[in-house]
């Protein structure tokens, strides 16, 4: 159900940028920390985009691995290894990658230029 609300937000963002043009491809960048299940998102995207200009658009999902950086000593690690506490100095980790939930680009149809 998480993917339902995410796909609604995606479709809203896409329609805003499509500005009335039919959308054929939607490219997303989704960080590991968003806990989005790709198949589930594709399923709900198909559902939510029905009867909109996104209907039938191909959904591309680029997965972004998570990366944390220590606020104290600047060392970096994967949160799968140590979550949000630095293994070197014990400082708190800041997310530098993996929080993305981004519409990267879209492909739209435009009438051929007749000039």
């Amino acid at each position: 159900m998480h993917e339902l609300s995410v796909s609604s937000a995606v479709v809203d963002t896409v329609l805003k940028h499509a500005a009335g043009r039919r959308v054929t491809v939607v490219s997303l960048r989704i960080g590991h920390l968003r806990q989005v299940v790709p198949d589930s998102l594709a399923f709900y995207f198909e559902l939510v985009s029905r009867e909109t200009l996104c209907e039938g658009a191909r959904l591309e999902q680029e997965y972004v691995p998570a990366r944390l950086r220590c606020a104290g000593c600047a060392s970096e690690w994967d949160p799968e290894d140590a979550w949000f506490r630095c293994t070197r100095c014990g400082g708190p980790g800041e997310v530098i990658a993996g929080d993305e939930l981004e519409v990267e680009s879209i492909e739209v149809e435009e009438a051929a230029c007749t000039a």
Partner: protein, 225 residues
């Protein structure tokens, strides 16, 4: 007809966050502190509110009660003589499992913002979607009860790492459970280092004073200019 690629590079939640900022501005203008209370269903959000809302030492509180349907929680809080506004996600919002900024915005005209200092938004019980949607709050509170299992912070890290306080509720049940409290606290610390934690039993009243004090402290904070 030809196809054109349009570079967008926009967070899909930008639209929500923009509305959330507008809500926050409206709350700030009226000097209302707003907390977003979140948890799994049945963790004790409403009981925690019942415990303190009637005794907030001059701080005038109000509640925005989010539910998919019904007004069961709002009915429980009505006896405390604080203004409670019901916000159902079922009619008009498709039965959403969370509150988002736009739903809260739609409820603003019904909130007595001039007459309160503290607004508690009780979110829909759910550990996943509410974490994604800011609603214009100053602080987020996560209630985790000891009947839920000590691994919850690791299973739902987004929720646990985006909150400013974790209230561990139902501690009166600890003697009856095979629950490793230290493991829960370590898991909270792992996903949100340094986040304040509170051990409470809304049923017996243990720890409730600290919970009340935390709310009073939030309400006393100056709105940043």
């Amino acid at each position: 007809m030809h196809r054109v690629k349009v570079r967008v590079v926009e967070d899909a939640l930008d639209a929500n966050n923009t509305i959330a900022r507008a809500n926050r501005d409206d709350f700030d203008r009226r000097d209302v502190t707003v907390v977003n209370l979140m948890s799994a269903p049945g963790a004790g959000k409403t009981t925690l509110l019942e415990r303190v809302l009637g005794s907030l030492d001059g701080v005038r509180a109000g509640v925005l009660e989010g539910d998919v349907q019904g007004s069961y929680d709002a009915d429980r809080l009505a006896s405390l003589h604080v203004p409670v506004t019901q916000l159902n996600t079922d009619p008009g919002f498709g039965g959403e499992c969370h509150l988002d900024a736009n739903m809260v915005r739609s409820a603003l005209p019904e909130l007595p913002l001039e007459d309160i200092d503290l607004l508690v938004i009780e979110n829909v019980g759910n550990l996943v979607c509410p974490a994604e949607f800011r609603v214009g709050e100053d602080a987020r509170i996560m209630v985790s009860s000891v009947t839920e299992g000590e691994d919850k912070p690791l299973k739902y890290p987004l929720m646990f790492r985006t909150c400013e306080l974790v209230v561990v509720n139902k501690i009166d049940l600890l003697p009856h459970l095979d629950f490793d409290l230290d493991a829960l606290l370590a898991n909270i610390e792992a996903v949100n280092p340094g986040v304040p934690r509170m051990l409470v039993s809304a049923r017996t009243g243990e720890g409730v004073d600290a919970w009340r004090d935390w709310l009073l402290d939030q309400a006393a904070r100056e709105v940043p200019a």
